[in-house]
């Protein structure tokens, strides 16, 4: 049994995003300040009010990443497996984990929802026995995580979180817990989701979508843009990672979660719940707010969410907010829903590894009511400790604290 406060390392990353298949493509894109949000082709969106999303390109790359079975998997399952394989390879672990104490802690909001929609559209009102069963098999939101576990021959716990936009961050928090308590030695943590009518239509009817690529924290912002993909982090206890000389990309120091108990779709306007999640993550990491150098915000680009998030940052960081750089990955890859927290955690680890700011895409001035230092250029910066925050439907909030592998006890409470 490891000590209760075992330190945890990030040893592998994997990503599928609107920029393509692999962490390298995302890393280069985050430095460019560009966006992968554009008109998409997954389904006919002519009747929808908005027409852009960050769609995963190069479907052909799926079979290269996952193999021939990609044609039998949902998009979300394919993204999940490809990201997990990349993360495992990067961590220097075998593709068969059946002889390890490994677990999968995953997130998804729609699972194989797109495939199920395709089935339903073709077969509603008719005898389902005549439709292709494989389109239904991936429907439950638990499937992407289970697909990863099956692919990597994992025999330990598999848990799927489906708590809206906070799911990915919460799943990584569960993984941290499992490593600290000795439940697993290796945690595969992440999420995957694909574009689907229900989510694209749902956010449109809520009038929460921007006709242009989303512009987090900008005065002209009009809403979010959806994305799709998968993101995975391999987490291990630091001692074990060092013993096997694994690449240590960052440390995962703490996690925190809270509920707004306020409204089904709107954030608590003063950001109280989000502030509590961040405060809990900082307490869990045993560090002071003023030791944080960079924040990867939830930053959806909706008017109310960005404002509430700013208020939450004010509550937690106070005057230190003036010294902090913030960014918003969603401007680059869109909102990955269940996988948002996971891809944003990957982006946070990349910022720490590269010691470089990630400019937030989207033109125009910052909302004067939101007084934050939004990164504009990919300039070098000292990022010793960073926080990633997510806020979801139903008032779910979750935050993670990462630090550079070399950071000692600086900033401890």
């Amino acid at each position: 049994m490891p000590p209760a406060r075992a330190e945890v390392a990030v040893t592998g990353l994997g990503v599928v995003s609107g920029w393509g298949w692999g962490v390298g493509k995302l890393d280069a894109a985050l430095a460019s300040g560009g966006t992968s949000i554009r008109p998409f082709v997954r389904f006919d969106h002519e009747r929808y009010p908005t027409h852009v999303a960050a769609e995963v390109p190069e479907r052909r790359a799926a079979s290269e990443s996952v193999g021939r079975e990609a044609s039998d998997l949902s998009f979300a399952d394919t993204f999940a497996i490809a990201a997990a394989r990349e993360a495992i390879a990067g961590a220097g672990l075998p593709g068969d984990l059946s002889n390890h104490d490994a677990g999968v802690f995953f997130a998804s909001c729609t699972g194989g929802g797109f495939e199920c929609e395709s089935f339903y559209e073709a077969w509603r009102g008719r005898n389902l026995w005549r439709g292709p069963r494989r389109l239904l098999a991936s429907h439950p939101v638990s499937r992407p995580g289970e697909a990863v576990a099956r692919d990597l021959r994992v025999t330990g716990p598999v848990e799927t979180v489906s708590s809206a936009c906070a799911s990915g961050t919460l799943a990584i928090g569960l993984a941290l817990d499992a490593l600290r308590t000795g439940t697993v030695d290796i945690a595969i943590a992440g999420g995957a989701d694909s574009l689907a009518h229900i989510t694209f239509g749902g956010f449109n009817v809520l009038q929460a979508m921007d006709e242009q690529p989303c512009r987090p924290f900008r005065a002209a912002r009009r809403g979010l843009s959806l994305g799709e993909g998968g993101a995975v982090l391999v987490l291990e206890r630091l001692s074990e990672a060092r013993r096997r000389r694994a690449p240590i990309l960052a440390r995962l120091e703490g996690a925190g979660a809270s509920g707004d108990a306020h409204h089904m779709t709107a954030p608590e306007p003063h950001g109280r719940g989000a502030a509590e999640a961040m405060a809990r993550a900082l307490r869990d990491a045993d560090c002071r707010p003023d030791s944080v150098d960079w924040i990867n915000t939830h930053g959806t680009g909706t008017v109310r969410n960005d404002l509430a998030e700013f208020h939450a940052l004010e509550v937690v960081f106070g005057a230190h907010l003036d010294a902090l750089h913030i960014s918003a990955t969603k401007g680059s890859v869109g909102h990955l829903l269940g996988a948002a927290g996971a891809i944003e955690a990957v982006a946070t680890v990349l910022a720490i590894r590269n010691q470089r700011l990630q400019p937030a895409p989207g033109g125009g001035g910052i909302d004067p009511a939101i007084r934050v230092r939004l990164a504009r250029e990919p300039v070098a910066a000292s990022i010793r400790r960073a926080l990633s925050l997510n806020m979801g439907f139903g008032g779910c909030n979750a935050a993670l604290v990462f630090s550079s592998p070399g950071l000692g006890s600086e900033g401890a409470t």
Partner: protein, 404 residues
Amino acid sequence: MTVVTGMGTVSAAGLGKARLLAALRSGTPTLAHIDRSDGMHHRTSARLAACVEPEALRGAAAPTDARRMSNPSRFALLAACQALEDAGLPIPTEPDGERAVVVATAFGHTAFTQQMFDQILDLGPTLASPMLFSESVANAAAARVALATRAAGPNLTLAQGEAGPLLAVARGLAEIEAGRARTVLAGAADEMNPLVHAILDRFRALARARGDQPERARPFERRRNGFLAAEGASLLLLESEAAATARGATPIARILGAWSAFDPSAPPSGWGNGVDRLAARLRRGLTRFGRSPGDVDAIISGASGSRAGDRLEALVLRQAWGGQPLPPILAPKETTGEYGGAFLAAAVLAASGERWGSASDSVDVDPELGVGMSTLPLPATARCFLVTTLAAGGPASWLLLERP
């Protein structure tokens, strides 16, 4: 140690644990004919489900906006209010940051999702209802519980098929033990609408009538041919034993441990053959929590009547017991059905000292499995209960309960 001090349950049997217990004792599931008018069922497919009677919800205490909620949200909210009342805890006026909510769901809020997609297809996306979307997300039930009970601690929705309810309790246990929550409402909520019923039948998962054999779930029996689909919600109120004692609450059950595993040999919608590894994980969990198979007085099995699932369950149990005789086994899903959390509530009732035997007085045990259900009520001396669930697709979860 973490204890259960309150429980709420909404099932086909009705509202509250007394009705569920009466159903378990009678051994008769409350069945309803599923609406097949949309034409999606095969003519020979299953026709029954254990559905919550709308009439049973009439008069139940609920906020006025319950009329806007999906069924899983309604069920979960009613179960949460019952659990708090049972635990003697009032709903606070201010948000309680030390109260967490963990709700498992297998399929989410499918009826609202289906309605919304129908509207997108039929009316166009601009005329679809925003209310349907906000209630179609998988975490709507957990969010509604938090809103109504002012629970401002961590709020989690877990989805792991049939393994979800026990995983939710395991997560609640972790929140208490890590000090992240003082109380946790943990359990499951699900609905069984005609589309999900038809899809489950498409996967040959549901029990069917055959010859003179009526349509019903027959866990571990030779003639089993599927499970009974169900809906409802069951939520437990968890807190530390010290906190319960300090406020004078009486625990219903003590949670000795919870753990889980995965069988990677399982196909996405079926059961695998990973008997050795699952049995090893089961034994390892018992050891971790200071118990051996011989310490288990009774097994509350998640066997549902599934041919492959029950077979795997039986083989795992036999292997874990290493040739030693198994303790008495109950399989409440013959009455509660699968999904909706009533199985979890039944397990807690057993651990609290309530007693019942198998529904059938002449169980036709499958000789290949070598295990069968106890036809007699469990002995009054039984204290340590292993609760098991193996899910389609590979997940497995276990819970170890003790009678206080």
